[in-house]
Symmetry: C2
């Protein structure tokens, strides 16, 4: 068994919350939202040097695989695995674990989303390393983020007794008491006040053999169905076998298939900040702002503006005068203007574009 951990980045998302910058062919993880790299490029870079590119796997969709490979030329093309159809997260985990088992039997794998902003990278890697060590012993490990505010958009993890701390107290390892779904505002405030709750960042660490054994125990139909995929890895038949096996699969989430049933899950809390940056409003918090509270990205001219987010992409220039609390996002072919705080309305715009036959803009 190898101790060197793998990373499996789940990158099949297709959300519309960053429209018009993100599109169906280039969703959030494949565009530049924060910084100069795309979210998935930043996610891979953030793992260096703990997990070098040769131990990074990406699971994405057939439609996104080519663009994902293009953005990540340092990865082996076959390490960008295209699910033929989406069959929820348990299938994705099992698929990734079968591949890791073929690459390095019994290796630890860290599963993480492709589209979070996490800083600083070194603190993140220290936490991942602790989690990977914990997973190497055979446990199921998740990562928790101390809540900065009473977020209603995230799930929470209630922490039980602390088992140990590392890096001079920067990192703690605790038992998980329970996982909690996205709460309402009142409960979220209680969780923050209680001090024993963490945001669930959707990052897990486990050994490939361990997670497969756990899945086999709780959800044997899934591991039975997927077994041929592991056998076919590295052969020309892989894509066809994957397709044959995936199409008839029932959808089941890893939470329902495994996490809720597993005993003695550990949670690692590290010294890094995490944000899934789920909307244009959230992006505002990640950009530098002028003294009047104007956050600009790209070619922007702002006169007498306050508390606004101005984003120009794809050769666009955004000019704004006298705006207060407005978000403007301009691309080559589509512009979005809405008040700050209304970021969740982007989906209504996208729905309206579909309804009115403008799907080419989505």
């Amino acid at each position: 068994m190898s101790n060197a951990p793998f990373a499996v980045i789940m990158a099949g998302g297709s959300g519309t919350r960053f429209w018009p910058v993100s599109r169906s062919a280039t969703p959030k993880q494949l565009v530049r939202i924060v910084g100069d790299a795309t979210m998935i490029q930043a996610t891979v870079a953030r793992l260096q040097p703990l997990i070098p590119p040769e131990r990074v796997l990406i699971v994405t969709t057939a439609a996104l695989a080519a663009e994902t490979r293009r953005q990540l030329p340092m990865l082996k093309p076959e390490h960008v695995i295209a699910e033929p159809v989406g069959r929820d997260t348990a299938a994705c985990v099992a698929l990734a674990a079968l591949v890791v088992q073929r690459l390095s039997p019994g290796a630890t794998m860290i599963m993480l989303p492709a589209d979070a902003v996490i800083t600083p990278a070194d603190a993140f890697q220290r936490a991942l390393a602790v989690g990977a060590d914990e997973a190497a012993k055979g446990g199921i490990v998740t990562f928790g983020i101390p809540p900065r505010f009473a977020a209603t958009g995230y799930g929470y993890i209630q922490v039980a007794g602390q088992l140990r701390s590392e890096s001079g107290g920067e990192i703690t390892v605790s038992r998980v008491e329970r996982f909690v779904e996205k709460p309402d505002a009142k409960r979220a405030a209680e969780y923050v006040a209680a001090g024993c709750y963490r945001w669930n960042a959707g990052i897990f660490a486990w050994r490939a053999d361990v997670v497969l054994a756990e899945l086999e125990r709780h959800c044997q139909w899934l591991t039975d169905a997927l077994a041929p995929v592991g056998v076919a890895w590295g052969t020309p038949r892989f894509a066809q076998v994957l397709d044959d096996v995936y199409q008839p699969l029932q959808r089941i989430s890893i939470d329902y298939a495994l996490i809720e049933k597993a005993k003695d899950i550990r949670v690692v809390t590290g010294g890094f900040a995490w944000d899934d940056v789920g909307s244009w409003d959230a992006l505002y918090d990640h950009l530098p702002r002028d003294p009047q509270g104007v956050a600009a990205r790209g070619e922007v001219v702002a006169l007498e503006c306050r508390d606004s987010l101005l984003v120009a992409e794809s050769g666009q220039t955004v000019t704004a005068v006298g705006l207060t609390g407005i978000t403007v996002v301009a691309t080559r072919d589509a512009v979005l203007v809405l008040p700050k705080g209304k970021g969740q309305m982007v989906k209504n715009v996208v729905d309206k574009l579909k309804e009115s036959g403008r799907s080419g803009l989505i």
Copy 2:
């Protein structure tokens, strides 16, 4: 002498009030602001059938002549006359009059700007016809618009006694008492209340020989200097002669050179509506609006918006959510967002773009 009037459209303007749709290479008169035609195309069309294309002359700048000809293929190319440099309106009038004298000695010419919205065309033509008849008798004729509100952006004409009315009272011909510069708000309100003031639309009618004689009387250096241009018309030397003659000219306006000095000017008031549509705010009044007061032009998706102007040009799509009182104008490479009523700030944006080295967008 011919009775058939000519039209001379002054189309050398280079304003920035409709940026980013208008640019230095395609100022207001050469872009679509209202309706499906450019302002200059609409100006030419609005004269039909009273003044057919063969009797339309355009005076513009060297930089705009090619695009002007492209937009008006029904005009003889040489009827789009390019001033080598701007030398104010008296030179433009003298130049046009010299050309009309060559085309049809003693013909009446109606001089008008290229960028006003005037409706309906038939009422406008009836008023022009009355003015042309008046001018054919040897007078200097201007056209006045009954003020719809206390505008401070227009000059006014004070009307003296009415001489006659035509078209069942739709059109009146009066003496001009005096011309008034753009007033302050208090005076503008007084002018509207008085009932004997008209907006000065900058439209004139006179015979070419009459205006040349008047200019010779009040401003002989100008007619002396320009005389070679009339001689060179229709020869290959025309452009060179025009250039030689124009470069050293002193700048003088037709108001100062002639209008303020001429006696017995007549003003024609017609049954048409006139607006020079001087800003995005003014455009709002010319577009159809939904029940919430949203005026849209081009590909626009508006959700929960009120009292806003949304303009998408050049293949852009503008999407807006929850806006109140906002103007959004989007083109292929630049977007402008500002509160309604702040249209005059566009020039500050343009200045800022120049300062910051983005003159390519202007």
